[in-house]
């Protein structure tokens, strides 16, 4: 969905029509809406244009079609500008170039050895220092688990990953990779972009970058690695669940691996979004039963299965069924970006 600004100049014919029947304006608006645009705001102006209209439309092609149809009436000339909402534009301005290629050496023997030796220093000591205490529930759910898996968790803090790491049994932990937001962890200005790849076994995910992003993790899943990904696509400020992205379900279905949900509490007290220094607090992690997505018909169905499993772990009621969601189109579809990731 995009925003567009349309400047309209009436032709002499258009002026005549409007003079004869002022409701022509509404008729044209209606026609544009039938062609797929939503008129957000409309002004009559004094100066070089007669009208300025903000519309929302699916894509550039829709707008071009509408433009052709309406200017074809011969009553007006249109000039259309694609527009970006100001807060989004500000974000774009601040965005820096970042690396999107994974470091292929991250799963080699030497990297695994370095990670293993460094672990007490890079991970364990922080968990010991700040999670007072860390309680883990549901480890027995993983007793029969073997091989690769997708690990999903709710995300509220940069501290989440070390905690997930400490929560998982050795068989998964020693072959765990982490999906990390490329714009955050792999910004080119950083001197040590290899650092998260080496010590956290992270790989960059270009948020909103589509399904192609998933090729690398799927190939790793197939060779027995597990992937930690935060399906909300970023950290929650409020502690409430955002809609899940489709990435985790797509990967699990392509690689045919189960999904392990982990719900974590208390991490927001240790280091909430926007805070740099952690402070000690109690943390609790609840591991759910591995979910198999075998035989699930569609990605969206699988995604809502994961979402509801996570909500159940958190003690929340399931999200409304897809039929109810279809009746309320205000909900943003989870397919908007396929990635997911962490921030």
């Amino acid at each position: 969905m995009g925003t567009y600004v349309v400047f309209t100049k009436l032709t002499p014919q258009g002026r005549k029509n409007l003079h004869a029947d002022p409701t022509r304006l509404q008729a044209v608006t209606k026609q544009a809406e039938q062609l797929g645009a939503k008129v957000v705001q409309q002004y009559a102006t004094v100066g070089q244009y007669d009208f300025v209209t903000m519309i929302e439309a699916e894509d550039n092609a829709t707008v071009q079609l509408i433009g052709a149809e309406i200017s074809g009436l011969g009553t007006m000339k249109l000039t259309t500008f694609p527009a970006i909402k100001m807060d989004r534009f500000q974000q774009l301005l601040k965005m820096e170039p970042y690396r999107t290629e994974p470091h292929m050496w991250q799963t080699s023997l030497w990297a695994r050895a370095v990670r293993r030796i460094g672990r007490p220093w890079t991970t364990t000591r922080y968990v010991k220092q700040y999670c007072k205490p860390l309680t883990i529930e549901g480890r027995e759910n993983l007793a029969n688990h073997k091989g690769g898996a997708i690990v999903i968790a709710n995300h509220s803090s940069h501290f989440d990953s070390p905690v997930v790491y400490s929560t998982l049994p050795g068989s998964i932990r020693n072959k765990l990779m982490m999906a990390a937001a490329a714009d955050k962890f792999y910004a080119s200005r950083k001197k040590r972009v290899w650092w998260p790849s080496l010590f956290q076994n992270a790989f960059p995910v270009h948020r909103g970058g589509g399904v192609k992003q998933l090729e690398y993790p799927v190939s790793k899943l197939k060779s027995g690695w597990s992937i930690l990904i935060y399906p909300e696509g970023g950290r929650s400020k409020t502690g409430q669940f955002a809609r899940f992205k489709a990435g985790p379900a797509i990967m699990a279905m392509q690689a045919n691996v189960p999904v392990i949900p982990i719900y974590m509490e208390g991490l927001r007290d240790i280091m909430p979004k926007g805070q740099r220094e952690p402070r000690p607090a109690a943390a609790h992690a609840r591991i759910g039963k591995p979910i198999s997505l075998e035989g699930v018909a569609s990605v969206s169905e699988a995604t809502s299965m994961l979402e509801n499993a996570m909500r159940e772990l958190a003690g929340l009621p399931p999200r409304r069924t897809s039929a109810a969601a279809a009746a309320a189109p205000a909900e943003v579809p989870a397919m908007a970006s396929a990635g997911g990731g962490a921030s």
């Binding site: 925003t3 600004v5 002022p22 002004y43 527009a83 100001m86 534009f89 500000q90 601040k94």
Partner: protein
Amino acid sequence: MATYIMLSTLTDEGRKTLKERPERMQEVNREIEAMGARVTQQYAVLGGYDFINILECPDNETIARISVELGSRGTVVLTTLPALPVDTFTQMLKGK
């Protein structure tokens, strides 16, 4: 309050400022408020202009003052169109 649509095009100087300090946009909006108008909506656009701003402003004189004040800094070139919500405009045409 009347509505105005302000089309702005950045100068070279303005582009530099925006890149260095994106939050400058908000500062300008606050300055506009201090002069008696209010920016209700703002879009960055592709094409002949850089930004489209919708302002609520009491009268032409206030908007003229704002326009001169902002224009005098040499960072932006402004074109301002007095605007009327289309419904009001249709009512006016019908009522003549």
